[in-house]
Symmetry: none
Subunit: 215 residues, 4 copies
Amino acid sequence: MTQKKPSRQERAQDRGEAIIAAALAEFTAHGFAATRVEDIARRAGVAKGTVFHHFADKEGLFEGMARAVLKPWIDHIDSVRLEPGRSVRETVGAFLRPLIREVAGPRGDVVRLFISEGLRFPRLAEFYYREILSRVLDIQRRLLAAAAERGELAQPAIAEFPQLVGAPLIVGVLWHGLFQRIDPLDLDALVTTQLDCLFVPSQRPAGSPMSRGEP
Amino acid sequence: MTQKKPSRQERAQDRGEAIIAAALAEFTAHGFAATRVEDIARRAGVAKGTVFHHFADKEGLFEGMARAVLKPWIDHIDSVRLEPGRSVRETVGAFLRPLIREVAGPRGDVVRLFISEGLRFPRLAEFYYREILSRVLDIQRRLLAAAAERGELAQPAIAEFPQLVGAPLIVGVLWHGLFQRIDPLDLDALVTTQLDCLFVPSQRPAGSPMSRGEP
Amino acid sequence: MTQKKPSRQERAQDRGEAIIAAALAEFTAHGFAATRVEDIARRAGVAKGTVFHHFADKEGLFEGMARAVLKPWIDHIDSVRLEPGRSVRETVGAFLRPLIREVAGPRGDVVRLFISEGLRFPRLAEFYYREILSRVLDIQRRLLAAAAERGELAQPAIAEFPQLVGAPLIVGVLWHGLFQRIDPLDLDALVTTQLDCLFVPSQRPAGSPMSRGEP
Amino acid sequence: MTQKKPSRQERAQDRGEAIIAAALAEFTAHGFAATRVEDIARRAGVAKGTVFHHFADKEGLFEGMARAVLKPWIDHIDSVRLEPGRSVRETVGAFLRPLIREVAGPRGDVVRLFISEGLRFPRLAEFYYREILSRVLDIQRRLLAAAAERGELAQPAIAEFPQLVGAPLIVGVLWHGLFQRIDPLDLDALVTTQLDCLFVPSQRPAGSPMSRGEP
DNA sequence: AATGAATGAGCCTTCATTCAT
DNA sequence: TATGAATGAAGGCTCATTCAT
């Protein structure tokens, strides 16, 4: 098996990725202010100066890291489709379930990091809204509109507040970060319960395939 | 009218309060890490050293401030009662409404501060849970149990998740801090919609004796 | 002999002066860019942080030092008077002589420092012009006007160029800094020769005491 | 028309010249300390490492640049001749006039740079003295000796101080760099006035062609 | 010879905390 | 108790120089 020797450029890109990975770990562990660039460098196995070779400054590094982390999430978001024969409830559930799993694990730290630093740095909040939230809300709004049309909504007003769909996820992520050790919370059940409140079984004409997806 | 000359102890207490007020303002404005003790001292009208006479260190000052801020909230929480002739839905609404108003204003900053710093300092989170959250959850749990008994719950499982009652409030507070400028959100309507989903009009037969549930 | 114990404020002022003295020494020795604040602190016998307690930053320290150094010069300048019975030539000579002596010694370093940093920092040049040069030029202009009136000027145009009076001093200071080791220059004689070229013995009515001041 | 492909050596020389030109621009703009090698490289259109292939280090680059810049000046200096039928005054004037023009323009920056950095780096001052100043002074001395012989000198002592000839030029260059914006100075008139003070119309026997000062 | 990524010593500046008055 | 000058460890960032490609 031939392993091509990596070119200088490739090595540079690898370093950049190593720095981002290290930054992710350090920033989530200590927050922006308390994270030392030197620790990031050490963890990435590079010299301090190398970090500034790849990113203009500490803030730029944070942004670069955020961008890299958010990338796969955007892909996930864009993959949502309301497929025929599937209730809105099922579709939303299918969208949320992987997020729940991610967010209950180490990725929860990232979300909490974005929340807590976003509160301090408006630019980050704007970036987060533009790249992630606006997309999610658009999709949820469309799904809720479809649900309203099909009579799946428990309350008509829900269609105005797509935030209610994600609310238990957000609360759950915060809870995990703040109180999980003291008073554990079943994130999955929390979300499911919320969905049970928002949606009612669709009143389709008999003969249509009833979705059995969600328990 | 004679103004009693304040005793040494009284003056000391006044200073303590001034420091706490200043700390509240500065911490909410900049967060724990970015707040300088000197700025707090200046705002309080005392010397930097004086701050350290009243509090062991910066963290102790933060805790002292948190304690003082949370005090009136505890009183509000302890005042909740399920009064006869009042639905659970109404009671919960009456509890949440003043919070919504507070939280949409400058007090929202404090909540966001506590969330943001609680994620970083477990002791603060524990303190917050012990003093505030556990009480709120207890009360909500009791109310939800009563609601379940009366058939006011849209889903039985809701009784297990009192967090769902506060969820829109939390989400709303974060939204105000992060995205309100970009995409305003009606906090009041958000909460109301959530309550509409959690509760259904009680199905008691007319004239039936109203439950006395809460002591 | 009772030596009053210095108050805290007095000690602080002493430190400020020590820092300025140290800054003068270090800046003249290495220039602004190559001088380390830490070295200034060490030389002044204070901690590094103390320097920033007295001055906002390195540049502010430089300015403070410049201000302190220039103070006595201003006093010297303001003391110039064209006394009766004294030729302009003598008056100018009396003004320049102490400067020559200062400038040939360690004070020359300061002048060279101001020239070389002034070229880089316009604000310093402006400060220098406002505080020192404009005063000197005013006085020289007035003296040259008097000289013109008395027929002491070798050329009428000289009255337009008070800079010519100081020119040999400036050139001499630079020469001392640049080439004195290689090719020594007699600063005193240089200035005297220039004055001999600018002024002619005054054509006062016979009988008036002719000043022979300058050799 | 065929463009000969430049040999490796020629390309190397071109690069060296480009680097020197870039170094001149950057050094005069920011001074030695504040100039970044990277900026020089970028301006020269080469990589940072290339600069260090052509010059040992930053200081070597400065010296190389100085050498290149001074070359044409040396030629100008060596061209001075006291031609028959021309007064010393005229000859000196003819020598200074192009310098005045150069020095009032962008070349003034170079002179100021050499002064400013020469004060900091003795080797540069020595180099400057050896290559330029000693030649100029030799020539001036010879001219002044001739002037003395012809009775053109206003004062005999002037012959000892050739520095007085260039003094107004130096002062003027500094003035342009330091105060020209605040208080403009006519460099040409300044030099002319000084020459008027140093020289008197030659006392040649009648019939000899009288020089009429400046053409 | 040219490149430019990587290095790491160095420096300015901040700020919580101490302590003599 | 109050003061605020002093401290000094810590950390972000710069940039001349090196060296593998």
